[in-house]
């Protein structure tokens, strides 16, 4: 990582976004936060709920850590980050419970799990503590959306294979206007239990990880081929 004492190059917004969504994806590239990932992705809706709640906390915690980066000393930074993140999550939990109770009933389970999501501490440590506030907030958003994307895909795959539906319960999470998302893909499907249970999560995640490797390898091979054809591009 670059030293913050050096003059900072101009923030590369596009790069932060691409890294968060794909190149440095929490799950696919860093293989962090696997515990909540495997635990909640039995349906696409659960994945979406967990992803969005985590994104909100990531943006706030990155912003806060970035703003306080001049005050916090390296020696005590980890406990301070943990206190900050836990406080933030608890505040969000209390606030939602009091003022958005219907949403809290659906997300309540996920919110408590966010505290133990190591990806949030990871971003505070590796990005927000070294970068200005706006870039850190964008990093939180990009990483959070990348996390959400993988959770929804993983949940969707497991849900379709496991119970033959997609986005079941989306109306409860997002409001009844999103009821159209709920699809019953395979009528009279008996269900495939393995996909919903934790081993199914590991299997689906394995295929996703392999899929990313494959796509990245293809893209790299493409780039090499283009580079050898046009030596201007390095």
């Amino acid at each position: 990582m670059t030293d913050a004492a050096k003059p900072q190059p101009a923030t590369d917004w596009g790069r932060i976004t691409r890294d968060g969504l794909w190149g440095n994806n929490v799950i696919l590239a860093q293989a962090l936060a696997l515990c909540p990932t495997l635990a909640v992705t039995s349906t696409a809706t659960n994945g979406l709920g967990m992803g969005l709640a985590t994104t909100a906390v990531l943006v706030l915690s990155n912003l806060l850590v970035s703003l306080l980066r001049g005050v916090i000393t390296p020696e005590v930074r980890i406990p301070i980050y943990i206190v900050l993140i836990a406080t933030l999550v608890t505040l969000v939990d209390l606030g939602l419970n009091a003022y958005a109770h219907e949403l809290h009933k659906v997300l309540g389970l996920f919110i408590a799990l966010i505290v133990v999501n190591c990806a949030i501490l990871g971003r505070a440590e590796s990005f927000a503590s070294k970068n200005p506030a706006a870039a850190s907030a964008l990093d939180g958003l990009a990483i959070g959306l990348g996390f959400t994307l993988v959770l929804v895909v993983l949940g969707g795959v497991r849900e379709v294979i496991g119970s033959g539906t997609l986005f079941a319960g989306a109306a409860q999470l997002l409001g009844s206007s999103f009821g159209f998302l709920e699809l019953h893909l395979i009528p009279n499907y008996r269900g495939f239990l393995l996909a919903i249970l934790p081993p199914g999560g590991f299997l689906a995640l394995g295929f996703l990880l392999a899929g990313k490797r494959l796509i990245d390898a293809r893209a790299a091979a493409n780039r090499r081929r283009q580079a050898s054809a046009e030596p201007v591009l390095s």
């Binding site: 990582m1 670059t2 030293d3 913050a4 004492a5 909640v40 039995s42 349906t43 659960n46 980066r69 001049g70 005050v71 916090i72 000393t73 390296p74 020696e75 005590v76 930074r77 406990p79 301070i80 206190v83 900050l84 836990a86 406080t87 608890t90 505040l91 209390l94 606030g95 419970n97 009091a98 003022y99 109770h101 503590s129 070294k130 849900e159 496991g162 119970s163 079941a168 319960g169 409860q172 008996r190 269900g191 239990l193 919903i196 249970l197």
Partner: protein, 208 residues
């Protein structure tokens, strides 16, 4: 390893301690304030939840009172307190509702059970559970209408030996891949009916 965080302030052990202590104190203060501010709304929301779940299981045409007001406290066979919400019409008890608990696959399943004065099930709903999503959660009325099959049942209908899931020779369906969850719910409801039979006099006594 490069350290990103630079500060001009003195960095002795006292500073570190004060910094960490300060942040912790600040966090504790924030949380205390947030708890104070949200305690009343959260209690209100929980009361609304209780009222909403009571009105789901208790038909509105059999009572003219506020169901959540003035609950009765009895003790069950195991000695645990049971809070009973009574439906009253013109001072007479027309129905009772209370929570029953089953031991599911992943912990307790809390249900609310409403019975009429003769001990027939008016309705029952799951209030809280930790069953496997996509499998055991079919006990929720929002996901499956399985739980509606208990309406109108009583301790003698079906007979005691048929008060179980089909796998155990009973009357009620289980779900494919999940037997423990419906079995726990059936047992909890049967337990609730037995509680009614054992405490019928107290339950139906008009409130003073």
């Amino acid at each position: 390893m490069s350290t990103a965080v630079q500060t001009s302030l003195p960095r002795g052990i006292l500073y570190q301690a004060l910094l960490l202590g300060g942040f912790t104190l600040l966090a504790a203060a924030l949380l205390a304030v947030a708890d104070r501010v949200t305690r009343e709304p959260i209690a209100l929301r929980h009361a609304e939840d209780l009222n909403a779940s009571l009105s789901q299981v208790m038909p509105s045409d059999i009572h003219d009172n506020d169901l959540a007001a003035d609950p009765l406290t009895l003790t069950d066979a195991a000695g645990a307190p049971v809070l009973v919400y009574r439906a009253l019409r013109e001072g007479q008890v027309t129905g009772v509702a209370y929570q029953v608990i089953g031991n599911g696959y992943a912990g307790e399943i809390t249900l609310i059970l409403a019975l009429d004065a003769e001990g027939h099930v008016l309705g029952t709903r799951v209030l809280a559970h930790k069953e496997t999503p996509g499998l055991g959660d079919k006990i929720e009325a929002a996901k499956n209408d399985w739980i509606l099959a208990f309406k109108g049942r009583s301790l003698g209908d079906p007979p005691a030996e048929r008060w179980g899931v089909k796998k155990d020779g009973g009357t009620f369906d289980q779900f494919s891949g999940a037997t423990i969850t419906p079995r726990a719910v059936v047992r909890a409801i049967k337990g609730g009916l037995e509680f009614f039979a054992a405490n019928q006099t107290e339950l139906l006594a008009p409130p003073r």
